[in-house]
Amino acid sequence: MSSAKMEYKGTDVEEAIGNACAALNVPREELDIRIISTGSTGIFGLGRKKAAVQVSLKKEGGHEQKRPAPEKKASAPKARPERAVSEKKPAVPKARVEQPAENDEQEEAVGDPVTPEEMEAIRADLARILDLMACSSEISISQDQNNKVHAKIAGDFVDILVGPEGQTLDSMQYVMRKIITRKFPQKVLFSLDAGGFRDNRMGELQARALRLAQEVKETGKTRTIPAINPAERRMVHMALQDDTEIRSRSVGEGLFKKVLIYLPGKGRRRAPRKKKTAEKSPE
């Protein structure tokens, strides 16, 4: 039925679709549009990605026009409902919600219920890993009201198991999540902690975020927190979101990104190079 699929690119989805329409010389109502990537403006001209859409001609006569550009769905594929709603208000995405799906990861997410036997299986797997690491430790495991499973490690090996910047702990949590996902059909939320590390770390990060925010306000210069993982970034953004004088955003590629804290109105978007040095942005 529908003809060959073709890909078009543009700086954003809108433009990509426009390009597609222009190239095929048809109105967009006659196209089946699938968004491949929503693109990103990147930072410092780096990591700029083009938006891409795949289109094919709708069957003649079929002519249902009720398909608007499925845009908001694509820009936050896994967003929870409330996110989808808030998504529509700024046409220009605010820097702080540049990566909504990610920064808001785990936002009050609710998992499926986990039976006591399954909890025990999770505990046993974790215990096994710790044993094999020659770090046998006490594990307490519990579930919160969102059905999230929390495992806590205590004992002499906490320092080793947390590792530098929590790296070992995060790795273990990641491996455990993988194992759990494979083992159980339902959606299980899992978090791993050792010796109160998570709370300490969050407190530390918040304090640091607020301190840097203060510096930004005093000096007007952009400050950064070096590469941190998604959950921690989210923490920083949340710590700063109520402060209307400054903005925060994540930049970089991949899992670990930097967090920039800056005064709004300076070197936004297209004038990135100047951000650090210019006192007034040449508007």
Partner: protein, 76 residues
């Protein structure tokens, strides 16, 4: 350490029977070679090598206890 790698790999792959780990002692470093079924390679490596990195990180924590180094090689 061999068992650690084997345990994690077995839990992640579709074909646990094909998981093989060999441990050899190099100079100052333990070299672990992990073999899995071809179809499962991606599972032990993960998106952008994330799973492999996590396993390596656990290994180096373990090895670090005895001031040793560990290297994980995933062999096709």
């Amino acid at each position: 350490m061999k068992d650690l790698v084997a345990f994690i790999a077995t839990a992640l792959v579709d074909d646990p029977a094909s998981v093989q780990v060999t441990e050899t002692e190099g100079d100052g470093a333990v070299v672990l070679e992990l073999r899995v079924a071809k179809e499962d390679l991606g599972k032990v490596i993960g998106k952008q090598g994330r799973t492999a990195r996590a396993i390596r990180s656990l290994l180096s924590a373990t090895a670090g206890k005895d001031n040793r180094k560990a290297r994980l090689e995933i062999v096709e």
